[in-house]
Symmetry: C2
Subunit: 241 residues, 2 copies
DNA sequence: TAGTGGTCTAGACCACTCC
DNA sequence: GAGTGGTCTAGACCACTAG
């Protein structure tokens, strides 16, 4: 019976303004945003209110606080953040860095599934790419990745081969597309001939199928991918609360 | 060169005291804790400091705030929370409640793996139970669950059959064991004869193997389980930030 | 109307980083 | 020492719940 509960506290409005500024690129990934005191003046609120807005953005991992230094726009373009969304860990605890190796890259029209996942019209232009992830020079993940061409114009094999780091670091550095969050659906499948060969397992071996949609500011989907994970020497790790 | 950074803010000390009180059962799951004002008096700090401690406990899901009513100890013993740790969702979005059906329950000595995962000495007494999870009366998950007998004395098939709800709600209601968080490792495996029959799939079908350790207050491991998930009609859903 | 959590402010001071 | 985020306080007021 009651109307919509339209009440929105000040700090959430400040938060929305900050997200808008981030989305518009007022501050680039890795750069510092103005100090809390400055922002308080800019928005005509107390520092405590700015602080609460930033608290939430830090919890969302859009910003990173560093005591004594400032507050920074989070970035994928830093070795420690390259594979922020990758949940695969080796069975023996040793930490080896992953390496992304591009295989193919072509243009295509969106079929029903990519169109739906990317919120695009059927037939919209896409860039599709295939790559593998390696640990210790061994292929462990094979991905097929679908991107709306509109936002990734110019992406090709040369660019992929020239780039050090993860795809998300490339997306950020070259196309200004910053992924904020993602959602994965994991299933068990059998390796077909191609997948088996790619990951160095027998045909018919069990693999994880991992489908992921990644979102940029404003919950806009910007990437859809399907991966095959070999879980012989690794596991998909998940924390539950 | 610098010594250990032992600085701990007041609100974290308050938080630790609150966790201790929760662990000792001063307030039971589902019940309200004292108001922020009362706690401020009790600990001789300002309400804002208590508030920040509770903020973190709410983020950890140990407490739940309800505006106008109070702050409550979180509980698994509520239909909406029965399967808080279950990440399985149906392929078609419809929400059907899960149902836990016990199969077997027996006593055993801890082998190397349960002992390691539960931080118990080799040979420590365990209770082991097998059960299935059903959606729409169809078996989708088969679990084998290992519990330290010390904390679950008296658990048997009769008790399992008599209980409505999830295992965690039973653990909480009957044994005062409240799971706070858990960690899962997911792999792809092939269904053996037994697993295939249990889940109604062909032998050799791909299944998810999900190993989980659950922790109570103080990060004390209290349960280890291994599950087989059929992902024919469901997917393991995960949010990444 | 009373009690609870939620917001907002202003100010003092602390911890950390860098020059 | 200057500048940043981090803590703590005290007080006023708002939103929500329940009797």
């Amino acid at each position: 019976m009651t109307g919509s509960p339209t009440f929105s506290p000040l700090y959430r409005q400040i938060k929305a303004l900050l997200v808008q500024a981030l989305d518009e690129g007022e501050w680039r990934p890795g750069m510092a945003i103005p100090s809390e005191a400055e922002l308080a003046v800019r928005f005509s609120v107390s520092q405590g209110t700015v602080r609460k807005a930033i608290d939430e953005l830090a919890a969302d991992k859009m910003l990173v606080r560093r005591q004594g230094k400032g507050t920074f726009v989070s970035t994928h373009n830093d070795p420690r953040e390259y594979f922020r969304f990758l949940r695969l860990v080796p069975n023996n605890g040793e930490v080896v860095p992953a390496r992304s190796v591009p295989l193919e890259c072509w243009r295509a029209k969106a079929g029903p599934e990519p169109a739906r996942m990317l919120d695009l019209p059927h037939g919209a232009p896409l860039i599709v790419l295939r790559r593998v992830l390696q640990f210790n020079d061994r292929n462990v993940v094979g991905d097929e990745i679908y991107l709306p061409e509109e936002h990734f114009r110019g992406l090709d094999m040369d660019m992929l081969k020239a780039h050090e780091g993860s795809l998300y670091s490339l997306f950020e550095a070259r196309f200004g597309v910053h992924m904020i969050r993602a959602q994965e659906r994991v299933r068990a499948v059998l390796a077909d001939r191609e997948g088996a060969q790619l990951l160095g397992v027998d045909e018919g071996s069990p693999l994880l199928s991992v489908e992921r949609v990644s979102y940029t500011y404003g919950d806009r989907p910007m990437e859809w991918r399907r991966g095959l994970y070999s879980t012989v020497d690794h596991a998909y790790l998940n924390e539950l609360n």
